[in-house]
Amino acid sequence: MSFLGPVLALMWKDVLLELRTRDFVVPVLVFSLMTIVVFSFAFEPTPRVIALVAPGVLWVAIVFGGVVGLARSFSQEKDHGNLTGLMLAPVSRDTIYFGKMLACFVFMTLVEVVVLPVFIVLYDVADAAAELVPIALLTTLGIAAVGTLFSAIAVNTRAREVMLPILFFPVAVPLIVAAVEASSLSLGAAQSVEAWQWIGLLAVFDAVFLVVCPVAFVAVVED
């Protein structure tokens, strides 16, 4: 309870604030939907082209959109000194990390609940829907894990909106590549036997990030 209670409290606080401000979900949703819609007009939707291009479109939309939201994750804590308030609580610093990470994961999953059906309809890939769900969940978990850490780092810099993508993308590239490859396989562009290897790789990346990022977070927030 001493770990889970504060983690859930922190997540619930972010959900409550999001319900009132819509700072995270709405911008990410708009960006992601716009990207998917625009690209759907950009090429001939033959099965082969869709299998080659659509996975890239999907993850560009979600990951780039996610960065817009992640930039807000710690700015609301920093702007009013609320990170100080969190640091005064008798909890370990990684409790703060996991609470914020969980909130990011929830918000991005909400975005995907809307984006994925739109993607499936526009690109006519209903057959791959069941396989896209675990890929999306694992990738989102990784994005939230890495993004929460770099959001905490970027918020202390002057150009926080610019700094976050610069810090985030080089580290997240393996995750994004694995997500694109796994999605591509599920859409039928390559051998399906390899699909689970990429999904496994996504799970490994998540596990590594969920161990390394909290440790790095503690070092970041400690003065």
């Binding site: 309870m1 001493s2 209670g5 504060p6 409290a9 922190l10 606080k13 409550l16 604030l17 009132r20 401000t21 609301q76 009013h80 000194g81 609320n82 100080t84 308030g85 969190l86 640091m87 005064l88 609580a89 008798p90 909890v91 370990s92 400690e222 003065d223």
Partner: protein
């Protein structure tokens, strides 16, 4: 947990750990030293008022004592617990009021206080929230969002937030800023209440007059303290020490 005694003398007689013991504290930002070899001791039942010019390190001292800023050198013990190694346990004893209210504008006063309570894993949360709000006179505003409150009311809620877990040690950075007379009297009763029930209070102030009638005062010179008197040592800056 601290031993709650009625007077500092009773505590001293028992030879228990001081509420706060600082030895050789140094902190610099870049090449600018802010605190230099600061040593001090605050006993249970005592109120220490720290004054000094801007840049003397008052805020840094509060932040270091609260475990928010890591010192470059020196040791800090809170009720005998080394802050560097047992910060989580020590923070349970500490309530802190900083310059910033540490409140979320988009949440109501009640939601802010409940959130703090859940971060401290407190029981009887609703009763505690109402008791703390009562103490600072903000109970009628419990349902209002913080963004609708004036600066002074935010400060009161901020103090209520710090009192929610009934801390033994209260650290306050210029708590009187923005408070009207009524709120100042509430603040005085809070400080007296914590010290009177055997707790300890450290607060920074620009006010030359004592905030409460019986506080020990310490002056931090500009450029950081080379040394500071421990409790009981004579100092020109020690005024109104508890009898």
């Amino acid at each position: 947990m601290p031993r709650m005694t009625n007077t500092p003398e009773a505590d001293a007689d028992a030879q228990g750990p001081a509420a706060i013991r600082v030895e050789g504290l140094c902190k610099a930002f870049g090449r600018t030293p802010v605190l230099r070899s600061l040593s001090l001791e605050v006993r249970w039942g005592e109120v220490l008022s720290v004054s000094g010019p801007n840049g003397a390190g008052k805020t840094t001292l509060i932040r270091v004592l609260a475990g928010l800023t890591r010192p470059d050198a020196g040791s800090i013990e809170v009720d005998g617990l080394p802050l560097s190694r047992m910060g989580s346990m020590a923070r349970r004893l500490i309530g802190a009021v900083t310059h910033e209210p540490l409140l979320y504008d988009g949440l109501t006063v009640r939601e802010n206080l409940r959130f703090t309570g859940r971060m401290f894993s407190l029981d009887r949360l609703d009763a505690r929230v109402e008791a703390a709000a009562d103490r600072l006179g903000v109970r009628p505003r419990l349902g209002d969002r913080v963004e609708t409150l004036s600066h002074g009311l935010r400060k009161r809620v901020s103090i209520a937030r710090a009192l929610l877990h009934e801390p033994s040690i209260l650290l306050m950075d210029e708590p009187e800023t923005g408070l009207d007379r009524h709120a100042l009297s509430l603040l005085e009763s809070v400080v007296s209440g914590v010290a009177g029930s055997g707790g300890a209070v450290v607060m920074t102030t620009h006010n030359p007059a004592p905030t409460v009638g019986s506080e020990r005062r310490m002056h931090l010179p500009a450029g950081g303290a080379a040394a500071s008197p421990a409790r009981g040592e004579a100092s020109e800056e020690d005024v109104g020490a508890k009898p």
